[in-house]
Subunit: 300 residues, 4 copies
Amino acid sequence: MHTFRERRLQNFLQNYQHRARLVISCPDRPGIVAAVTSFLYEQGANIVESSQYSTDPEGGMFFLRIEFDAPVIVTRKADIEKAFAPIAETFQMNWRFRLHNDLQKLAIFVSKEEHCLLELLWEWQAGELLADIAVVISNHEYMRESVESIGIPYYCIPVTKERKGEAEEKQLALLNEYKIDTIVLARYMQILSPEFVAQFPARIINIHHSFLPAFVGARPYERAYERGVKLIGATSHYVTDDLDEGPIIEQDVARVDHRYHPEDLKRIGRIIEKTVLARALKWHLEDRVIIHQNKTIVFN
Amino acid sequence: MHTFRERRLQNFLQNYQHRARLVISCPDRPGIVAAVTSFLYEQGANIVESSQYSTDPEGGMFFLRIEFDAPVIVTRKADIEKAFAPIAETFQMNWRFRLHNDLQKLAIFVSKEEHCLLELLWEWQAGELLADIAVVISNHEYMRESVESIGIPYYCIPVTKERKGEAEEKQLALLNEYKIDTIVLARYMQILSPEFVAQFPARIINIHHSFLPAFVGARPYERAYERGVKLIGATSHYVTDDLDEGPIIEQDVARVDHRYHPEDLKRIGRIIEKTVLARALKWHLEDRVIIHQNKTIVFN
Amino acid sequence: MHTFRERRLQNFLQNYQHRARLVISCPDRPGIVAAVTSFLYEQGANIVESSQYSTDPEGGMFFLRIEFDAPVIVTRKADIEKAFAPIAETFQMNWRFRLHNDLQKLAIFVSKEEHCLLELLWEWQAGELLADIAVVISNHEYMRESVESIGIPYYCIPVTKERKGEAEEKQLALLNEYKIDTIVLARYMQILSPEFVAQFPARIINIHHSFLPAFVGARPYERAYERGVKLIGATSHYVTDDLDEGPIIEQDVARVDHRYHPEDLKRIGRIIEKTVLARALKWHLEDRVIIHQNKTIVFN
Amino acid sequence: MHTFRERRLQNFLQNYQHRARLVISCPDRPGIVAAVTSFLYEQGANIVESSQYSTDPEGGMFFLRIEFDAPVIVTRKADIEKAFAPIAETFQMNWRFRLHNDLQKLAIFVSKEEHCLLELLWEWQAGELLADIAVVISNHEYMRESVESIGIPYYCIPVTKERKGEAEEKQLALLNEYKIDTIVLARYMQILSPEFVAQFPARIINIHHSFLPAFVGARPYERAYERGVKLIGATSHYVTDDLDEGPIIEQDVARVDHRYHPEDLKRIGRIIEKTVLARALKWHLEDRVIIHQNKTIVFN
């Protein structure tokens, strides 16, 4: 299956070798787009996609994501950043240039449920998940074979209530070793400590197996069954200290009826979960998601 | 527009003049379907639709809804019911025969939001809502003209906190006068008293403007906005004493994103609300909804 | 019901009194966005929404739609257009400024099916269809009362095969009299002549009762029934000389199954048709739809 | 990953060891359900699910699928069939009893596109596809490793225009050898000969990468792109001699817009294809699909 991945990745890298993006957050005021696009024009960039959002034209925040082609960007990224700095300062911007081919390094955390991990592995093998899956970390041995058989390192770090801190230390050591950019909790059923979360702000993505804010917490399918809902859902969100309360990136639902027992809801739910997580992760990897006041702006 | 309604209603009544349905709930045990269908066969009935559900084949409850054509049913319904009684007793059935052409009498309650009422009126005029809208009751004058112009009586009964009981008395008098079978709360923003609800068990249908159990209570769209959900929804349910906790009949959702302000969510929500309410009401009117332990079995 | 419309329209006009939009098509090349946004900035405009699309960054066409707030635009639109002309010439632009409060004049054409017309009338009354429904034209008398009762002129112009030209002349006279911008064929079951269509290029919107290109032409629901499809749909498109071949603006589908007879498909289909048509029309009215090579770019 | 499959399959087989189903087609007339359910009652069967459909209560065809629990069925299936034969004859029935645990043997045909095969393999490993995947046959070597690594035999039989008959002979030999019940064309891009198809009537399931009947034949995504549709779809159907004209089992769609190039449509389409094929196959395997006049009745 590697051949798919390699072929598609090769295509991608070649097609987008001059592609980059610029993502900006700043207080809204007139002239931002004019200043940014004039700058890009002067660098010889051709804008291929542009998205913006203003929370309030008067006194709100402004968010901008621009994708552009510019041969110069690959070779002289640092120079361009330096040239852009004064504009950024004028408008008090948070900003970042990123090359399209600069793939993020992922760590996938998983427990016993395999479907989300397998979906990400399959999309990665198919060349559709444009990231570098650097490592899979689990508190069980279950998936080792599936993961190692395609050449990705797998670490089993058991987690017990008493020695959770110890486990997190080992995890953090691995995350540093592999220089991880983004952590994906692919149905990893453990709660991370605030200290752990603090080290990866807006860089840990979880999939919750309910349509939040319905059924926050444990056993959402059982509770959906008991309440007799007619749709079940899944929610992908950034992890914060508040359980299941982080900024929502994506949600979806599927129709169910009185005939579905909790086991059936779980079966249907697995398809929603893996699909929603994969979508959210892709948007994150393409810098399409901006967090603002515990909500997300998604430029998809 | 009356012409549509009359033409379609005429067609319907003629097409289905020999159609009836039998709805049964009883403890599950072998032989129920055989007994019921043998009985119907002996009456010369031809079954055209049959739905059943068992909560648990061993020791659970069994639910059955059969639609059939039988010329005899129109003229001798009472005789057939009498003949069926011994079978019903054997199996400890709750049961009811209803003629397809025996339309229910509806009262629609409404406040200031017009969309749900107008949808029901439009479907009724189009001959697609097979019921007799006997009366519209509101705590405001807003819709009088729309309702009266198509020949439906409209009563404005103002409701104040202090004199709620008085208002409910007037409402109940009207409901008796018009021999109402089912009450539809079409965005009627008042909470009914337990005494009122008790008079219409499983006969009051509400539309809540959120995807329950998310955002129970007031201002769901504002709270959906604040939480940053990516889908909003509506829920139609039977009214019980617990606010927004009654058995859910139907739900649906629509996709939204960061650009939608609360006003936009309300606008989108109106379309979901009216659609969901109309679907739930139709199933109820066709005896397709059975309540069991605060959940619904919907044979649709 | 007028009160809803007036209240919401009043709100709208006041909220958006300084809002305008600029829509541009031109050959793609670097510098367009910079030039346009710099110009708007110089006019004191604050961009609130911007969408763009390039068919091909190298040698393709470029499309841009910008919404902005600018107090000056209302009072000095002509001056601003004059000032923009040189930029437009430089980039060979097709372009247009339009004030948000400059509502288009609509003519709705209808035959015997009422649902699409009623949906548009209802949205218009609810203040959600921001246009001026100037006139309804039908080849039947059916809807006169519904339309006139809310104060919109209704003309019945019968159409026969032999005297179609005559009917179209009368229609054109009315369209001129009412200074119509856009024609909506709300299930108007007549085919317009090429001469008629030529007078309203990209300004006639039709709703076809199938998921095009499946079931082009007559009796789509009957053919969908015969083929046994599991989803039925509707398509809103601009009218061109080729029947059902014009640029598609919007489509949607609903699930059906073996139990649905053609009459049921029509009933379900009516809901899809009216929803799809209303969506397409709104996007058109907000200049969100651009036609390019018999396809549409929709900035929604 | 085998552990998942084995665990779930074990659960399944144990839970459903007394479960069987009876599927019937016959001319409609009163008394069928009564006769069948009385028979089942006499055998000590408890009905757990029952679905029926009549094309026309007067003179049409009648279809019935009953799932029931009956300890006797496992040990004395032949006796029960013998006892049922006279009833079947009375009503001119086509009929079949099947044990729930009597898994069908599948052959999956595949070419170069891997997504449908991998989805089926994944669902099979997860214990959610209740069948015995006996063999995978391809005209390429691409998937050998993926398939053999989980213990399923893989045969590469190259197909050329000139020697197609020869290839089909080899395929048929394998199908016989493995006693195949159902063939799944999981994006197998070859057209089977009428002779081949005739050997597996209603037992070959294909996935077509469009929303049929739109885009019958080759290159559907390219043609969808050219037409500018706003939804793309996939269709799973039984294979007959008419290309893409066989009875449709299931269809679904996904929303696209002007930004999607053919490559993007293919990417989105892959998700629809694999989902639709998996759903259709499951219904087929559970005898929920009945073919009638080139359409399907699906009791799902």
